[in-house]
Symmetry: C2
């Protein structure tokens, strides 16, 4: 039976601990965190400790803390024999200094208190040792159906790609919400469209799925849209996207 220690008490730590605690073949040996109050959330899932000098021996240590605290936390694990893996998209594996190191990166946006279907989450696995990669993949395979070998360079790019499709898209949703509010309309009006746009690319390439005036090269509608906008940032975004989309499809003609 695989034993796991999780270091960290934030949102990802909570999601991982919740999911791992449900796997029969795995034992959640310990949750380690600085903050006693945050640790309480985990008290039904595993033993909790705030003293980093008392970390239990385990097969896998998952470091689920903020990126800039990963190295510091990993220092407490320098004498451990198990695999030390962080769960970060943006941090190279080699930020960890122990021989038996790896990465266990779930490519998803985790929200406090919002349940996720772990089975669909892509787990990006990397390890310094082949046997450790295998162990991390076994663990990931108990949680999800989507396991990938991803090296640090690829993961960095993926994390960047995630910015575009998630953070930036979400910002656009916010622009949409503001435009609704300007007219006293509910953001509910845009929700089915937002969902359909995301669902469409589950089976189609975004390039095929693209619609709208910019794709058609419909300058009249684009000009009318620009005139409707009051906010300079919204105007800038509109112009930039229109130009970018137009360019993609002009090249195709």
């Amino acid at each position: 039976m695989l034993s796991i220690v999780i270091l960290g008490t934030g949102t990802i730590a909570k999601h991982l601990a919740g999911a791992i605690s449900k796997i029969k073949e795995v034992r959640l040996a310990q949750i380690v965190g600085r903050n006693q109050e945050h640790l309480q959330w985990f008290s039904n899932l595993a033993p909790i400790i705030a003293d980093f000098s008392k970390i239990a021996d385990a097969d896998v240590y998952l470091i689920a803390v903020k990126d800039d605290a990963i190295v510091e936390v990993s220092d407490y694990l320098s004498n451990k024999k198990g695999i030390v893996a962080h769960v970060s998209g943006a941090t190279p594996m080699d930020s960890l200094s122990m021989e038996n190191r790896g990465v266990f990166y779930p490519l998803q946006s985790f929200t406090e208190g919002r349940p996720l279907d772990f089975k669909t989450i892509p787990f990006c696995i990397e390890a310094n040792w082949e046997a450790s990669a295998k162990t991390l993949k076994t663990l990931a395979g108990r949680l999800s159906d989507n396991i990938y070998d991803i090296d640090s360079q690829q993961r960095k790019k993926l994390h960047l790609a995630a910015m575009y499709v998630s953070n930036f898209s979400n910002y656009l949703y916010g622009v949409g919400e503001n435009l609704c509010l300007e007219e006293g309309l509910s953001f509910d009006l845009l929700k089915p469209l937002i969902l359909e746009t995301a669902e469409k690319v589950q089976t189609m390439s975004p390039k095929e799925a693209q619609t709208g005036p910019a794709r058609r090269g419909d300058m009249k509608t684009m000009q009318a849209h620009l005139e409707l906008l009051n906010d300079e940032k919204q105007k800038e975004i509109y112009a930039l996207f229109s130009e970018a989309i137009k360019k993609v499809y002009e090249e195709k003609l």
Copy 2:
């Protein structure tokens, strides 16, 4: 029993005809289009005609043609007594010149051959006469649970908002796909994240849902991201969004 004529044979006409033909209390009286070949698609749903001088009498005429053809098509309906309504987001109701005019705008992205749950589609209704608004709402209410009174100015803004949340988001999905391909990775890796990002705002405001380095003001990650990008357009988008997102949350601090 309400009788409906649809003018147009494009994607929206197909979706509307398909959905309307399933309503028991409504009779799809005719589909009118210039192109015999395109009309064939509709032949199982209603009588089809290509001769615009032979449009049947009906309670409602839905003009589902390209924006710049709406006025021209509406000229064939100038002597009709039924409600003449277009289905366009970007076109003012008063582009139509008959007294009994209106708008029947389904706010959704329609894709050829891709089924949609009509029940969730917001229908934006406007009419010159109160009784006609009621009729259009009755029709919309047979198709969907989401009926809204939306005037031409509001609809114009909504249509613009739809650009941001749909066309521009889809463009960002394409950037994500390109970044994956640059590393020889499958776009599948980003799909669950895309879906979760869209699902999240079904119950949360985009402003609450925002995550990532720009929201945190994490300059180090943002700088590293910019250095990873080769494409100038991608760089420009990154910088613009980072700045815009940062600004939203700085104001909140």
